[in-house]
Symmetry: C2
DNA sequence: GTCTATACACTGATAGAC
DNA sequence: GTCTATCAGTGTATAGAC
């Protein structure tokens, strides 16, 4: 564990507030009050409010990109790859629920980094879709509309940040397994 | 079709802008400019910005409540009830994609109506969960964690607003059927 | 139904003292 | 690392003319 710097504290506090009210509704004075200091003091550690958003979102987006790159290049079955994608989302979200909220809801307020974020996001979705289409080709997956399959899985996984903090006794591997059951095998008997 | 009043035009334009940037990031001047008038003129038709949010969110929330009340009181199988819930979400979302974005993302900015909204939402989720638990009791549904089943279905359905506008050639009944396949029957062969 | 003019609180951010 | 003081710009909303 790296030592948490003052900037890290500010970023983490900002992420929590952004999760509650959204980037635009959180003022630098709100953030400073929560930290127990004055707004001007924040600027000794960060350069702008936008800097906070960028720091929160881009690091998580890159985690997803790196995870997906490893998965798509692994030589396992499609069903195994999908399980690994579920594990990836559960692991990243459990580690940073607040940041996931900003990633999902406030990416449009990125300025300089918006295009870069959108590229990471599009690439991720394309890789996900490729995996599903492979599964349909090799008959591991039913020939449903692949976009709907991806949409359904991805929106569930992207919304995990809403759900994980509610379960105080979270076991990430139990959660991954349950999601795998529901998302892959369906719910009807 | 009722005639669209000036207030309706303002509400619909506001919903579109709220969908793009979120309630807090949209200014009354933005809204006025989009309408082709000055900000002050808006106040001849509405009483406040908050009034717009309330109008957008509460009417949709009540549609969901009414739909759910009909479903939970119908005497059909659990699988049929779940199909009807999917139909309900597809129908409401197809009819008002922008409003669904505000419902999902900006409900926390409601003021007087916040508690009322939260009650409608909690009741809806409890009814949904009751239906799933009934299905497990009567062996229509696998004995997975019912909260995870609801979470997975509901987050997918709540995110439909992101997906429906992308499909220019939308056939709502095809979409409902595809979602039913994926959500109920799973994706693996 | 829309305008101009205006109020006045709040916003992100900087300068410079300690 | 935090403070006080401050600025220029923007926020919602109102009053009153046309």
């Amino acid at each position: 564990m790296k030592q948490e710097t003052r900037k890290d504290e500010i970023v983490n506090t900002a992420a929590k507030l952004f999760k509650e009210k959204g980037y635009s509704a959180v003022t630098m004075r709100d953030l400073a009050t929560t930290m127990g200091i004055k707004a001007a003091s924040l600027y000794n550690h960060i350069s702008s409010k936008q800097d906070l958003l960028k720091t929160i979102i881009i690091s998580i987006a890159e985690e997803f990109t790196n995870g997906m790159d490893a998965i798509i290049n692994s030589e396992v079955s499609t069903i195994s790859k999908l399980k690994e994608i579920i594990n990836l989302h559960v692991a990243i979200t459990a580690n940073n629920t607040s940041g996931m909220a900003s990633l999902n809801n406030d990416w449009m307020h990125l300025e300089e980094q918006l295009d870069y974020y959108l590229k990471l996001r599009t690439d991720y979705e394309n890789n996900f879709l490729t995996i599903i289409k492979e599964g349909i080709s090799n008959s591991e997956i039913k020939a449903n509309n692949p976009e709907i399959i991806m949409f359904s899985m991805l929106t569930t996984l992207r919304s995990l940040y809403l759900w994980i903090p509610k379960k105080e006794d979270l076991n990430t591997s139990d959660l991954s397994n349950s999601l795998n059951d529901v998302l892959i095998h369906g719910i009807n008997k």
